[in-house]
């Protein structure tokens, strides 16, 4: 049957450079496709100097003139050759639906084109490409790329091979290979372009795609330069590789926390608390056990926190949940198990105080009520549950952690009073029993014994993403409300003057459209009158509880600094805010340089809006002035003093001009 070139639906683009006899094998498999549509093969000779390459390409083109087309171009690299093939296919084949990229030393199964195109055709318009499993031959290896596509995972792991099919809509959106990338891994960058334009991938199994892995190849060479290539890719995509975007993807996946509520026997999975997926305990455990067997990145959070739902709701209503979870997360990065006793008292205004050591004294608070929060990584919980040991504190220390068991205590008050019935004391044991039951029901042992490729079968953890992308342990999930900007005001202490200044500033920022969070670098936050100005109040107790604060001197002044690990956590806590304001200096100064490099707008407030600024304050601020985009001063006299300390005038702004907008808002609101 004569092949109708004009009706070509898929173009297989094969860049050719060297390896002519392997190219024969590649072309042979490309010509053997079984498909119910017309496809063409476009060979692009990338200026290969050896005549054998030309001879092989020309011979196949002559042998299959209706199927194989041959382009010969000056050498420009793999990306350039593929782009050349794309442009040719778009121009020559008016009915083109997709292109498939096949490198000249790989092989494909006979149903590959049909299955990939079927997947694209049956997907929504957001799906831009279809990618196969990879069976590596030569040095044998099989890479299981299956599972639902995760854009979050794709930011830190390239599981979409170049041997994938790109839809016409991707190409029409102007997506092409980066011709500057001549060292390899250009396929990852290509898919990231798609992701940046809103496209997603879809996995297709059983395609028979086979990647030839040789001792020395472009991929092997690229693996040596992987770090520099990754840096280049991230530099090319600042819209993808910034903490806020990554957090948005993580929020979509709801993959940060799994909070088990022993009082309702349910699990809340989420990254940000206004985007929660509720599961029954059994549903969650099934998902958790599946996460260890098959790839589905982000389907199950990796951090489990056991907390009664009434306490969860109380923290949520009082704007304290974010801070509590963040502190538990930081503690969990140090310890296999974190136990946190909680005592609650009723008060009109919320307060919270953290101390070290769990409170086991039931008599100290007569008639009082106490419950316990536990935090543990999900896989550690499975390991413990299936090992059959009874006391979770008796196990070994998890690799990479400093403690096996870290006890903490929260003294907390608020208007929202949790149910004073404690279901929490054996919450982890309940989960463990559930895991054992569900493991038996779901035949976990049967599947666990099977030698599956589990490289990508894992629960989601911040440490998979943020250290790799930003050199941060994690980022605080501040929020991802559409169209909103987020601001953090940082205080070291909570005296009335500082709180008033923070409140005024918060009102001004609210008026500008910011959602404002108050950060306290202290183990306790007392009752705050202006609670309503802040949607969240976040205490950062660990540096104080774990001896993570030290002092330096700058021009004879004493400046507090955080130890490196605490500092990284503090930067992570603030990295997703659009604007961070140091209200009273202190520890916050030293964070601002890192935040600014992450494109966070950094402000310092001098004088707390009261007009009284000490030389010591200015001295401390001047040590970090380059880290600030704006320094807010009470008056012109202070501005002179700041200039005298070497702070450039361009950074200085007057307090009155900053809060003006808030005054207007307040007046308008009253009238």
């Amino acid at each position: 049957m004569k092949h109708a070139v004009a009706d070509t639906r898929v173009a297989v683009i094969i860049p050719a450079y060297g390896q002519p006899w392997l190219t024969c094998e590649t072309l042979h498999t490309a010509l053997n496709q079984i498909a119910d549509f017309n496809y063409s093969i476009v060979i692009v000779n990338d200026g290969c100097p050896t005549t054998e390459t030309h001879d092989v390409c020309q011979t196949f083109a002559s042998g299959f003139p209706e199927r194989v087309f041959y382009l010969s171009k000056s050498n420009g690299g793999l990306s350039s050759a593929r782009n050349c093939g794309i442009e040719f296919a778009l121009a020559a084949f008016s009915q083109l639906e997709a292109v498939y990229f096949l490198d000249c030393d790989n092989r494909i199964g006979p149903h590959l084109l049909q299955r990939l195109l079927n997947a694209l055709r049956s997907s929504g318009p957001e799906v831009g490409w279809a990618y196969p499993d990879v069976s590596k031959f030569g040095f044998a290896e099989h890479a299981d790329t299956s599972g639902p596509y995760s854009p979050l995972e794709h930011l830190f792991r390239n599981f979409c091979e170049a041997g994938s099919m790109a839809s016409r809509r991707m190409l029409d959106a102007g997506i092409r290979f980066d011709t500057e990338m001549r060292q390899g891994i250009e396929d990852w960058e290509f898919w990231l372009q798609g992701m940046e334009k809103g496209f997603r991938g879809v996995h297709v199994g059983d395609t028979g795609f086979a990647y030839r892995r040789r001792g020395e190849s472009m991929l092997v060479a690229a693996e040596r330069d992987f770090d520099s290539i990754k840096r280049y890719i991230r530099h090319r995509h600042p819209r993808l590789y910034n903490p806020r975007n990554v957090l948005t993807l993580e929020a979509d996946a709801r993959s940060r926390y799994a909070v088990y509520h022993p009082d309702t026997d349910s699990v809340s999975c989420f990254t940000v608390a206004d985007h929660i997926e509720k599961l029954t305990r059994k549903e969650f455990i099934v998902r958790l056990l599946q996460a260890g067997q098959r790839p589905a990145y982000g389907s199950c959070p990796g951090q489990l926190i056991a907390m009664n739902s009434s306490l969860f709701d109380g923290f949520l209503a009082n704007g304290q949940l974010l801070g509590v979870l963040w502190t538990l997360e930081c503690a969990l990065s140090r310890s296999t198990v974190v136990a946190c006793s909680v005592r609650h008292s009723s008060a009109a205004r919320p307060s919270i105080s953290w101390t070290s050591g769990i409170d086991t004294d039931k008599d100290r608070w007569p008639g009082g009520w106490r419950e316990t929060i536990f935090a543990i990584e999900c896989f550690e919980l499975i390991r413990h549950a299936l090992s059959g040991t009874t006391d979770i504190r008796g196990g070994g220390m998890q690799s990479g952690k400093q403690h096996h068991y870290l006890p903490l205590h929260i003294q907390y008050s608020g208007a929202a009073i949790p149910d004073q019935v404690d279901h929490s004391h054996d919450s982890l044991q309940t989960l463990c029993r559930g895991i054992v039951e569900v493991a038996e029901l779901t035949r976990h042992g049967l599947w666990d014994a099977l030698p599956l490729d589990r490289h990508r079968a894992q629960t989601a953890l911040p440490r998979h993403v943020y250290p790799e992308l930003f050199n941060l342990p994690s980022v605080l999930p501040s929020g991802v409300e559409q169209g909103k900007r987020y601001a953090a005001l940082i205080l070291n202490a909570t005296n009335a003057e500082k709180l008033t200044a923070a409140e005024h500033l918060a009102q001004a920022l609210n008026f500008e459209g910011f959602i404002v969070h108050l950060f306290l670098f202290a183990p306790a936050c007392p009752e705050i009158a202006a609670r309503s100005a802040f949607s969240q109040i976040i205490t950062m107790p660990l540096p104080h509880l774990l001896s993570g604060v030290r002092s330096d001197t700058y021009q004879a002044g004493l400046i507090s600094r955080l130890e490196k690990r605490h500092m990284n956590e503090a930067v992570g806590a603030l990295a997703t805010y659009d604007r961070v304001v140091s209200v009273d200096g202190g520890l916050s100064h030293s964070l601002m340089g890192s935040l600014r490099r992450l494109k966070v707008e950094t402000w310092a407030l001098l004088g707390n809006g009261t007009g009284k600024v000490t030389s010591a304050e200015i001295n401390a601020c001047s040590a970090f002035e380059q880290a600030y985009s704006a320094i807010i001063l009470p008056d012109l006299e202070t501005a002179h003093l700041c200039r005298a300390f070497g702070i450039p005038e361009a950074r200085l702004r007057l307090w009155s001009s900053v809060i003006n907008s808030a005054d207007e808002f307040t007046t308008a609101d009253i009238t």
Binding site: G47, S62, S72, K73, S74, H142, Q293, G445
Partner: protein
């Protein structure tokens, strides 16, 4: 430099030899040339546009500016007065975009000159193809010679392979150890994804619950999903079926490399016949291996998804195990290795009480059993095996699982008895079917294999007693954690099934 309508691009870049005619006007020259010819008209000093034939029917097609020269051009022919500057510009463009100098000559003048050139080129082309063919034939000859003379397996490797070939077929997957089995009728085709790849697969067992009635045939087929190729197919008449496990076997373990396999089961029968029923079992966690693909899509029914009750057997690829008729090729292949499932090992229980403030006994993950020697008398535990047809051997691995252990000569022993024999009696030799001697462990983490060969085949339940002891009475050595692992039963192949294997053959 060259421009053409987009619908002509594929023709200009196909592999056919072609000649490009460069003209000053749009008239199609009346030439008889033995290859595809395309007329390009010079539209300004250095641009040529393809002149379309009237029969093309694309009068208003988009004009594409070529970034690359057309493929397999044998000659450029300028019959008219095209200026040299335009032809030079064409050469330069060709070299810049095509990555090499213009390899087709530009001919100015009559058709005769073109024909002479084409003849010369044809002869060169024929010679080139002849040379390529010659080189290919010599390559193949050298390849064959290298197989003959150079690809020799050293004798010691051949001996090793010969020993490997004696290895027993091994049970590599068994999902039937659950009471939740149900019977399903084979009325329509059942497509069961297999959880293993093709390489090393020797066969499978299906559990027939009801043999059906009437005249009909049950078919089984193994299909590689990636290539769509049928690897093997077998069949059995309804009246040859009997209840219980039915073995289906390849003559030798598959050497195919497909990662994804499907087992298709179906029947063909006369009207009025009743299809056989086979056992199915819950797929559990990985519902992707269920035979009902719809079950994957519905979350609530995930745990209800079913797969066939299966035993999958593996062997060394390429080694003939069975004859065409289903007889074992080699008497030494009569044994089958059946790893004890973790769910069975997990039932291990102590038979002598022992207490300590630290873990001394218990089932660990992945089929491991901890049994520390503590006292002057040996520590003891038992695993109760259900009736296993043709049981002839029990073996396991044992080791000290803590590298800090400095104690030497920690003793271990396995004793197999009839069901219900107490540990004390087993130690005294009462009711014992077979036992190992005491084996002393001297190095941490170095495993020893304990093998208990039964004097006769057992079809009844047996107890497997595990013992550990200190080298001499005294203080308990620190870190002396003895762990038993990798329990394997060996069964006699001929006794394991009621029927001879149904052979699967390549279609």
């Amino acid at each position: 430099m060259l421009r053409a309508p987009t619908h002509m691009l594929s023709r200009l870049h196909d592999g056919n030899p072609k000649i490009i005619i460069l003209t000053l006007d749009s008239a199609q020259p009346d030439n008889e040339l033995p290859l595809d010819q395309y007329v390009f008209q010079l539209v300004d000093d250095d641009h040529f546009t393809l002149v379309q034939a009237e029969e093309d029917g694309h009068p208003n097609a988009d004009i594409h500016i070529f970034d690359l020269p057309p493929s397999n051009v044998w000659a450029f022919w300028a019959p008219g007065l095209v200026q040299d500057t335009s032809l030079d510009a064409l050469k330069t463009w060709y070299a810049n975009t095509g990555g090499k100098d213009l390899d087709a000559p530009i001919v100015k003048g009559s058709q005769k000159a073109v024909m002479e050139l084409l003849l010369a080129r044809s002869l060169r082309e024929a010679q080139r193809l002849g040379n390529m063919n010659l080189a290919l034939m010599r390559d193949l000859a050298v390849l064959r010679e290298s197989w003959l003379n150079h690809v020799r397996i050293p004798a010691e490797i051949e001996e090793l392979l010969a020993n490997l070939r004696l290895a027993s077929p091994r049970l590599i997957f068994n999902n039937s150890d659950t009471p939740d089995n149900v019977a399903i009728s084979i009325e329509s085709r059942i497509i069961q994804p297999l959880p293993i790849g093709a390489r090393g697969l020797l066969g499978f067992d299906l559990n027939v619950i009801d043999v059906g009635a009437g005249s009909g045939i049950l078919f089984a087929q193994l299909l590689a999903r990636d290539t769509g190729a049928v690897l093997a197919r077998g069949q059995i008449a309804f009246d040859a079926l009997c209840p219980g496990w039915i073995p289906f076997r390849l003559q030798s373990a598959s050497a195919a490399s497909s990662h994804s396999l499907e087992l298709h089961i179906w029947t063909e029968s006369e009207i009025g016949a009743t299809a056989p029923q086979i056992a199915a079992t819950p797929a559990g966690l990985l519902s992707r291996f269920s035979f009902d693909p719809q079950a994957n899509a519905v979350r609530s029914s995930q745990l209800l998804a079913q797969m066939l009750a299966l035993k999958l057997w593996g062997g060394l690829p390429g080694v003939a195990m069975y004859t065409f008729e289903g007889e074992l090729v080699n008497d030494q292949l009569t044994a089958l290795e059946v790893p004890l499932p973790d769910s069975l090992v997990e039932t291990v229980r102590l038979t002598r009480e022992m207490t300590a403030p630290y873990p001394v006994f218990g089932y660990m993950e992945r089929g491991k059993v901890l049994l520390r020697p503590l006292k002057a008398i040996p520590s003891a535990a038992v695993i109760r095996l259900p009736a296993t047809r043709g049981l002839i051997e029990i073996s396991c691995e044992v080791f000290i699982d803590d590298r800090r252990c400095e104690a030497r000569h920690l003793g271990t022993r396995v004793v197999v008895t009839s069901r219900g024999v107490e540990a004390d009696a087993a130690e005294r030799g009462e009711g014992v079917l077979a036992a190992t001697d005491w084996v002393e462990l001297t190095e941490p983490l170095t495993p020893s294999r304990l093998i208990v060969r039964l004097p006769d085949m057992q079809n009844e339940p047996v107890d497997v007693h595990l013992f550990t002891r200190l080298p001499k009475p005294g203080p308990v050595p620190p870190h002396g954690r003895i762990v038993f692992n990798r329990f394997v039963a060996e069964v006699h192949a001929a006794s394991a099934w009621n029927v001879s294997p149904i052979m699967l053959r390549e279609p």
